[in-house]
Amino acid sequence: MSFFSFGQTAEIDIVLNDAETRKKVEHKTEDGKKDKYFLFYDGETVSGKVNVTLKNPGKRLEHQGIKIEFIGQIELYFDRGNHHEFVSLVKDLARPGEMAQSQTFDFEFTHVEKPYESYTGQNVKLRYFLRATISRRLNDVCKELDIVVHTLSTYPELNSSIKMEVGIEDCLHIEFEYNKSKYHLKDVIVGKIYFLLVRIKIKHMEIDIIKRETTGTGPNVYHENDTIAKYEIMDGAPVRGESIPIRLFLAGYEMTPTMRDINKKFSVRYYLNLVLIDEEERRYFKQQEITLWRKGDIVRKSMSHQAAIASQRFEGSLRAPKIDSKHDI
């Protein structure tokens, strides 16, 4: 904002070259609202134009340089001052000088690395954005354009089922089974609960999906649990030998891929919580972690050439979310 009415001010506008064709996705903002942003994948080029419009015609704009940056950063809400930048690219658009009239500058960040998925959580935010800056003596003029990055994976080679016998000695023994340990975001959890011993009076059984966001390190680790879904799978009292089927469609819930130790700053993990409730409202539960991953959409003809290159790039990419083999059972 300029305090001198006789000075010159400028407005910045960032426009992507493929704004007409590039897909937009919804992404939650920090205050819970949903907005649409351009979607990018790892390896894609980010190119466009920076339009600088002078507000007072006839006057010149003095500046100390115009640049555009592409930034990927992690922001921990309890430590707002420190932004952890894991991607930081800059292109100079104009050397220090004077602008006599409105101008447009082209920019291109070629094959940019975008190793992590955009994430807005309860205590942490990971975002990517373009920032154009006109440096001036007293106050800079800035404009930011947020984009959203999705990380894609392919079907894991190893995806064993989860099968376990659990219980309370002499009171309740069950065997639960989930068909996979790694599910994509539009997958279906198919499973079953088999009752081996039932000496308590069960009223109903449900399966919950719990999201756990972990921020901080060492003694300052903080877990934020959020129950994403509660799905009743049984109403009534089971007896020995009964099998209760589970079929839970994940596409209906708002979830992200599993994120493990992103830039050593935070993790987002998902758990299935099997809960049995007896007639006195006592709860018996068993929690089990599952890995969630994002599947790429089927390549359509309208998909940009660049995205096609990017999708070929990540199929063998080391930066696809790591499917950690020690979580296979």
């Binding site: 039932v198 308590i200 007896v239 079929r247």
Partner: protein, 162 residues
């Protein structure tokens, strides 16, 4: 990428249930009734006892059927024992009704029929909630309360094993 676009949602294979399991009595049968309140004694030394009848097929209880008489202070004793020894959150008992024990009341005080019925119902709820708790079922005091003729207040607290 050519992969199936429709997920396989067929049920997982499961063992067919044995018919004796399906149609036999459930293994969680536990019913406790608190009834037949009797007021014993005269004047100021009166007190009310209740019959506590239990039917169960849980292996942890020695007797499959038992019938004992207990008074309110016995229930209080049980609550205190469990609060001290077990890890469970013990549900509340119906009230002590001290006000009802003051003199110069217009009614029968704690021997009033409606009050006894209220108390009986509360005690029945209390004992059913406790007896069904897997952790309380291990406590010696619970077994003594439900199945021994009388409560030995000098007993040695401990756990019961199947």
């Amino acid at each position: 990428m050519s992969e199936a676009t429709v997920a396989d949602t067929r049920r997982l294979n499961s063992k067919p249930q044995d018919l004796t399991d399906a149609y036999g009595p459930p293994s969680n049968f536990l019913e406790i009734d608190v009834y037949d309140p009797q007021t014993i004694g005269v004047g100021r030394n009166r007190f009310t006892t209740y019959e506590v009848r239990m039917k169960t097929n849980l292996p942890i209880f020695k007797l499959k059927e038992s019938c004992v008489r207990r008074r309110y202070s016995d229930f209080e004793w049980l609550k205190n024992e469990l609060e001290r020894d077990s890890k469970i959150v013990v549900p509340p008992l119906p009230g002590k009704a001290l006000k009802r024990q003051l003199p110069f009341r217009g009614d029968e005080g704690i021997f009033e029929e409606s009050f006894i019925e209220e108390r009986r119902s509360g005690l029945e709820q209390f004992i059913n909630r406790i007896a069904g708790h897997p952790l309380a079922q291990n406590e010696r005091c619970l077994h003594m309360f439900l199945q021994d003729e009388s409560i030995d207040r000098n007993y040695i607290p401990g756990k019961v094993r199947q």
